[in-house]
């Protein structure tokens, strides 16, 4: 087992997540892609923690991120729901109220 294997996995996950965030129009899928990014980070953290023997267990950070991600998804889905109620639509290209 090498560290690089975990890093490759996490970077693949990260890239998929970034792609999903930038390319998908569906807001729910964008949220899911964000989850992928976060989990890529989690893997990174735990891998580094396991291989380098950090003073504080890396799992703490991972658990912390998972908790925050859960909250983030809760808020995000609530937003999506509200957007849907207003415009019957969750296509992010149609939601451009901030256009200058």
């Amino acid at each position: 087992m090498y560290l690089v294997q975990f890093l490759i996995l996490s970077s693949v996950l990260f890239c998929i997540g970034v792609y999903g965030v930038l390319a998908r129009r569906n807001a729910v899928l964008v949220l899911m892609s964000i989850e992928l990014i976060l989990n890529a980070v989690n893997i990174n953290l735990i891998a580094f923690g396991a291989f380098n023997g950090a003073a504080i267990p890396a799992e703490v950070f991972a658990l912390f991120i998972i908790a925050v991600a859960a909250a983030e998804v809760g808020v995000g889905l609530a937003l999506v729901l509200t957007i849907y109620r207003n415009s019957k639509n969750i296509d992010l290209h149609q939601v451009d109220l901030l256009k200058g």
Binding site: L22, V30, L92, D96, G100
Partner: protein, 871 residues
């Protein structure tokens, strides 16, 4: 603040509060100044036009002045009771230990104990002790009070012991000085503060008393005047200025008070300025005073540097008395100050403004030109007496500038009073003459006599002026010959009070004027005809003779005034206005001040009965001298000796006065009245029969041609011109010659030479001015005016113009390049920049979340790349 007397036992430490009023005398002028502000601000809206404020303020001040005087008397009594037996040693905590050790002759043991107690205090106060300048250098045991709190205030009521006159040890009450630092510059402390001693409280009481009576009188006299409120405002300001002047602790404050008094005088003389003569008179008074003020400024500056950069009255006097101040500088300073006194106190030859100043309302004449303002000059000499006494070498000589000026002034004033038809002008010249008496007394060293005469004169002259005002209030004129006569039938009370004032002025016993005038005559020390009579400070025989002649003339002209005003037949009533033909007695607000002043004129002389008079105990005689005159032990007053009272002199002067009254009585009451009850002069009188008398009369009518000499006028014939030239030349020459000889101890013959040179110069100038009819002023004035005009147009105006033009140009350039170019430009550029940037950035704001995310990731990637490269 407390006066601390340490008694014989060290444990027995008596602490006595020193006078509140003595230390806080500033309240008195402050009240009057506040009254001025209130009257000017709100007077017009008050039911009595502000007069009630003025009267209330001056009444409060009068009470405060009396309380101050009471505390001062207490202070003197306390000092007098404090003999070496009762409290032989009083600590001055500013004194050095060595000085103390030298100074006590007895009670050594006590002294040691005190030193221990004192040592602490000394350490604390060392810095202040250095600054404290009025500790006595010479007084044998020195003494004091606590030093001020650390805020820089220091008040001292010092008591000094000395081996005083007559061998006995007496204590002297020192002046109470309360000072605060105003500002410091170059190591010199400029202070403001008050100094209270006997002279100050005398003036405080006199000024507030006369001012109070004048205020009350004025409410009737100027009732209905169009500037009623303004009038009372300036009465308040005048009183405030005079009180400020007399309470000054240093000469700077004196200058301020002096000028303020002058300004108020200007405003009040010109009260009815709509008429040209009145505003001319006000200007004349002001400008004549400016001439003297130059002398005042120069004199004060010379004094400042001569006395080692001190402004304090006490320090300056002390320096002069101890001889640390250069004698030459003292002489120069006192001559310069004398010029100021000549203008302010109406001394020959700058007195010409005073008669003209009668243009003001009569109560003002009483207040300013009899009782208070014109005595400012006399007060100045009395206050800085150490300077004058030593500068002019008054002690032990027989002539000096001060005495000459005073003596000439008494004669000039008295002689001019003879030929006036205007009752107020008689009194004005009489005032000049009496001020001359005071100056004369100061010039011969009779300090107390001068101040005493100042006080009594203030009372009876105010009475006379107010009486004249009462008469004129009835007949609406001041002309005795045209509009008066027989007034005693119409105005009995005015008549009685005026008679009392006249007798007091003439100097018949036992009224006030007699005592003070006689003290002056005795003080000349010229009455040495009998064995064993002392020359007080010198043998001023000429001054005695001139004073005696003046006494006779005073009695005669007052008799003339009495006849022309109150006797004979009423000559008025020839005006169309029926009101004038019906003279009536004045109201109570006019009569009560007259009654009070007349009453005081009767009894004021008792304040200073001669020593041993009628075998009275010493507690009854010389009270004024006891309480007012500072003892030499105080360190700021020269050691002067007092003339012995002389029965022979008193009887002789009374006979002179009585015979003068008799002659005038015979002339007017008998001869003139016999000719016709309404006549004013004999038809074929002495001035018409004798050429000499006629010439004299013409000269007097022309007021010694003084106005001719100053301003020009009709050319005067050779005889008159020569006579006047001789008088002026002789006076100037004598003064300079004797000043050099006595004052500066120059050799005799050179002094004579310089005197002759100055005398001849003055003779030439005066004679030329009179013969050509071109006055000094017009000769000097025209070229000076032209030169001043040239300077004005070509230098000052041109400079102002140039500055103005350049300012416009600079402002133009500023507008064009700086304001429009730089400032406006930068503001515009900022606006345009923001607009452009906004337009550019707007396009980035698409509202598309994923675009933002792309940018964010791109940025993060860039930063990450940068991080890798950099690290």
């Amino acid at each position: 603040m407390s006066t601390t007397y340490l008694a014989t036992e060290a444990s027995n430490l008596a602490v006595e509060a020193s006078g509140f009023f003595l230390e806080n005398v500033w309240i008195i002028p402050a009240i009057m100044a506040a009254s001025f502000v209130v009257i000017l601000g709100f007077g017009k809206r008050m039911p009595r036009g502000g007069s009630e404020v003025g009267i209330a303020a001056v009444a409060v001040c009068f009470v405060l002045a009396l309380l101050t005087a009471g505390q001062w008397i207490g202070q003197v009594n306390e000092a007098a009771a404090c003999t070496p037996e009762t409290c032989d040693y009083i600590v001055d905590e500013h004194h050095d230990a060595e000085a103390d050790a030298d100074e006590h002759h007895d009670a050594e043991a006590d002294a040691d104990e005190h030193h221990d107690a004192e040592a602490d205090a000394d350490e604390h106060h060392d810095a202040e002790a250095d600054a404290d300048e009025h500790h006595d250098e010479e007084g044998a045991f020195q003494v004091d009070t606590g030093v001020g709190s650390s805020d820089g205030e220091s008040a001292s009521a010092l008591t000094a012991f000395t081996e005083a006159e007559e061998g006995s040890t007496a204590a002297a009450a020192k002046a109470v000085v309360s000072e605060r630092t105003w500002w410091s510059n170059g190591g010199i402390n400029f202070t403001v503060g008050t100094m209270v001693d006997g002279l100050t409280v005398t003036l405080l009481v006199v000024v507030t008393l006369v001012s109070l009576l004048v205020h009350i009188y004025s409410t009737d006299y100027v009732a209905g005047d169009r500037r009623f409120t303004h009038y009372f405002g300036f009465l308040s300001l005048f009183t405030a200025a005079m009180l400020f002047f007399v309470t000054s602790a240093n000469v700077l404050q004196m200058i301020v008070g002096w000028e303020l008094v002058g300004v108020c005088s200007f405003a009040l003389i010109g009260h009815w300025w709509e008429e040209q003569p009145n505003s001319d008179a006000a200007l004349k008074a002001f400008l004549t005073n400016r001439v003297g003020d130059i002398g005042l400024l120069i004199g004060m500056i010379v004094l400042f540097f001569a006395s080692d950069e001190k402004w304090g009255i006490i320090e300056i006097n002390a320096g002069a008395i101890e001889g640390t101040t250069s004698h030459t500088l003292l002489l120069i300073a006192s001559l310069c100050l004398l010029a100021a006194v000549m203008s302010k106190s109406g001394q020959f030859f700058l007195h010409t403004w005073l008669p003209d100043a009668m243009a003001g309302p009569t109560p003002v004449s009483a207040l300013i030109h009899a009782a208070t303002m014109v005595v400012a000059g006399v007060y100045l000499i009395a206050r800085l007496y150490g300077v004058f006494f030593h500068g002019l070498s008054i002690g032990g000589s027989s002539i000096n500038a001060l005495a000459v000026i005073g003596a000439v002034t008494t004669l000039v004033g008295a002689s001019l009073a003879f030929v006036q038809d205007d009752i107020k002008k008689v009194l004005a010249y009489s005032t000049i003459s009496q001020l001359g008496y005071m100056t004369l007394a100061l010039g011969v060293g009779a300090w107390t006599a001068a101040v005493f005469h100042l006080t009594t004169h203030a009372l009876f002259k105010a009475c006379l002026f107010l009486g004249a005002g009462s008469v004129s209030h009835a007949v609406h004129s001041f002309d005795m010959k045209k509009d008066m006569g027989g007034m005693r039938k119409f105005m009995p009370t005015t008549y009685k009070t005026f008679l009392i004032g006249s007798i007091a002025l003439a100097g018949l016993p036992p009224l006030a004027g007699f005592w003070s005038k006689d003290e002056i005559l005795a003080g000349t020390g010229g009455w040495g005809f009998f064995e064993g009579e002392s020359h007080a400070n010198g043998a001023y025989t000429i001054m005695l003779v001139m004073g005696m002649i003046t006494a006779a003339m005073t009695a005669a002209y007052m008799t003339r005034v009495m006849y022309l005003t109150f006797f004979g037949e009423f000559r008025g009533g020839h005006h169309d206005d029926a009101h004038h033909g019906d003279p009536h007695e004045s109201g109570p607000r006019i009569l009560w001040p007259l009654r009070i002043l007349a009453g005081l004129a009767v009894v004021a002389g008792l304040m200073n009965l001669p020593k041993g008079f009628l075998g009275l105990p010493s507690g009854w005689t010389l009270r004024f001298e006891h309480y007012v005159e500072p003892l030499a032990a105080t360190g700021y007053f020269p050691k002067i000796s007092h003339a012995d009272p002389s029965w022979s002199l008193a009887i002789f002067s009374t006979l002179v006065v009585a015979s003068a009254v008799g002659v005038a009585y015979y002339y007017y009451f008998v001869r003139v009245n016999a000719q016709s009850p309404s006549a004013t002069e004999l038809v074929n009188g002495p001035t018409e029969r004798s050429r000499l008398l006629k010439a004299g009369h013409t000269m007097l009518k022309n007021r010694y041609y003084l106005d001719h000499i100053y301003d020009g006028g009709e050319p005067v014939g050779a005889a008159g011109a020569n006579a006047m030239g001789t008088i002026f030349g002789a006076a100037a020459g004598l003064t300079l010659g004797f000043s050099l000889d006595n004052g500066l101890n120059q050799p005799f013959w050179p002094s004579v030479m310089w005197g002759v040179i100055l005398g001849l110069t003055i003779f030439t100038i005066v004679t030329a001015a009179l013969r050509t009819g071109m006055g000094i002023a017009s000769v000097v004035k025209q070229p000076m005016a032209n030169a001043a005009n040239w300077v004005h147009e070509n230098v000052i105006d041109a400079a102002v113009d140039e500055v103005g033009k350049n300012s416009v140009k600079t402002a133009d350039a500023l507008y064009k390049y700086i304001d429009q170019g730089v400032i406006d430009g930068s503001v515009n550029a900022a606006g345009r920049g923001s607009q452009g940037a906004g337009g550019e950035l707007r396009r980035w704001s698409t509202g598309k979340v994923q675009q933002y995310a792309t940018v964010m990731f791109a940025g993060a990637t860039l930063l990450a790349g940068l991080l890798i490269i950099v690290i």
